[in-house]
Amino acid sequence: MSERIGVYVCHCGTNIAGRVDIDEVVEFAKGLDAVTLVREYKFMCSDPGQSLIQKDIEDGLINRVVVASCSPLMHEKTFRNVCTRGGLNEYLFTMANIREQCSWVHVDVERTTDKAKGLIEAAVRRTRLQEPLTKREVPINPRTLVIGGGIAGIQAALDLAEAGKKVVLVEKEPSIGGHMAKFDKTFPTLDCSACILTPKMVSVGQHENIELMSWSEVEDIGGYVGNFNVTVRKKTRYVDADLCNGCGACWEKCPGTRVPRKGNVHEKLSIGPTTSIYIPFMQAVPAIPVIDADTCIRFKNGKCGICAEVCERNAINYDMEDELIEFEVGSIIIATGFQTFDPTPIKRYGYGKLDNVLTAIEFEIMNCASGSTGGNIRMADGSEPKSIGIVHCVGSRDKHYHEYCSRVCCMYALKYSHLIKEKIDAEVYEFYIDLRCFGKGYEEFYDRLLGEDVRFVRGKVAEITEVPIEEAEKGKLVVEVEDTLVGKVRRIPLDMVVLCTGLEAHESLADIAGLCSVSIGKDGFIIEKHPKLGPVATTTDGVFIAGACQSPKDIPDTVAQASAASSAVLSMITREKIEIESATASVDEDKCSGCKICNSLCPYLAIKYDEEKGVSVVNEALCKGCGTCAAGCPSNAISAKHFEDRQIFAEIEGILSA
């Protein structure tokens, strides 16, 4: 069957027609080899435009299609579908981009028209050589791996479990709950954090569809969308989870301690038991303790053993070891969350050097009713502060640290002001650059705080010092700041300063991202598939993201994204099968020298070396058809379907000859 190519030239309104002489292009295309039909239309992507192509295929006028219009990213799928509907293999279609690569970027109509001709001839020549490929489908394992048991992971796991799907939730800490479990109140509604989180944690622990692996870390991930192989390291607790009933006798009697014995109030800040065998906080799920081997007396000198003695169920086992568990899932949700910025490098704020300069998370724990101060705000010496300064944007909006805005600090800072006023009625100063109160009810919360006699000073704090200049500053922390609204530099003596440390990607995120083959941006967070239209998907099929692993987020946004991620997973699982790329690479075993260069080049880890045959083999399910291996193969043994050398050379010749 000879090739009969139909060329369709799109005006795209005036987007293309305004800079390209359509009539001239049409005449030119008519003269090309194998072209039997040329049409032009205002909008090829519109319904009538698509019907034109479909009808020509159905009428048997053409058996290959070239559409000269916009970029493949925009409409390749549209026109591939038209071919399929018309009964033509979609790989016999090519798009010539005469908009983004032509009419939008050039001014001179004559030369733009010439370039359009070149692009069309290239497409026509390559299309003659294209071959039909078959779409492949693989089944999807309905089980999902959720990495991270903070509020994002909890929400995603619950949504999936409620839909009747199996979930494995992996959390590296002894309990799920994440940062939210450390908070006392949540802005702007001042809901009790534990009261809204604990029921969800309990549901996770009890749900028949959720397998919870706490105190565990993902070690390895292989496979591809629908069929991932996961290896998880279950770290040893030294407590048999099947025997333990969480009675608490062990941590009540434990003589070891995880916090410094001689530290001041701030150094001893913690929630939950401070002993060596501990649960991180009282509402922990699971309520099974862990032994901290670094501080446990037994592990230091072998002399203790009290926990084993008091345990009525004989659950303590000092000889336990890490376990590696392997299982399969079809999709993955990354929900590793954030860590807070460490302000030590900002020397002028004196964190770590000056008593009573605290980070936000320390202040959060201090306010937590179940924390070591019982929710009371205390200075290092145990007394109550009379004045507190809250410094915004510490580590955020600063090119030395993080350029981005951490999004949550303004609001938690306002929450702190409210808590301070409510608990001890101290004077509160908020030192801010801008107040970004963008969410529902946030501006109203700011308005409320304005009425609560908080002293707002606009200006980033220049320095925190304990060197007094005048009498009133003696024995105090002094904040130096320009009040930019007044236009004067002020020195303000305070008892305590809270640094609103920003959010940054968790240190484990890079490793997790590597295991899942997803990209990390220069801000350290995962890059989503599309910043607006693909916020929960990633560049790797089957891997989704939720919460602060993508960017700093507050609780409402995190929960929304977690539900979005689980719904994306559900829509994939429900299809039961997934189509995978047909334009993959293949190795000619006769030519392959077994050099393994391609093995390490492949960004999707799709090429493995077959020891028996001594050649490299492409796993077609993993291959994305990127072509890196084909270009890198020194023996020319790898060819990429749909991007064969002869097709690419034909394309180049087309461009050059027009």
Partner: protein
Amino acid sequence: MLEREVVYESVLDHDFLDEIYSLPGGHEIKKCIQCGTCSGSCPQGAVMDYAPRKIFSLIRAGFRDEVLESNTIWYCSSCYSCAVRCPKEIKITDVMYALKRIAIKEGKAKKGRKASALSKNFVRMVNKYGRNHETELMARYILSAEPFNALNFVPQGWRLFSNGRLPLMPHKIKNIEQLRKILKKIDELEEM
């Protein structure tokens, strides 16, 4: 040696904001978000020491003397542009009046000498006649505020007189006793 100007917290008056807050019209003052709508809308802003937005930031920070001694409160012409446009519905013009009263009471109205002389004499006219008497008001204002400048007012005064704008005799309203009772009651209430 060149020394940096730094404001110490001990020189600031942190009760000032509450003081204004408790006065009529001051109730929304704490809700100011420093957007600048007031300064941007103020026709007098260019000649003021501090445009209105800055007055509010100074009040909040406790710069009492800077506010009370500024010309701002006297240059406010009560056009109400700011008050109408303020997104937080702060009664800015009312706050300016409150500041004027405090400034006069504390003898800090130096920059408002002329304006306060005019206001005081105006109130005196109303007390006396129940309405304004332009001729007496002008005479009293010039004598109390600008005596050495009196001759310069003559040409303008003559033009006003020629056009019948400066009546020689005052007009009293009927039942002026009743008005005086009202004004006396206001004074009593203010004192409370």
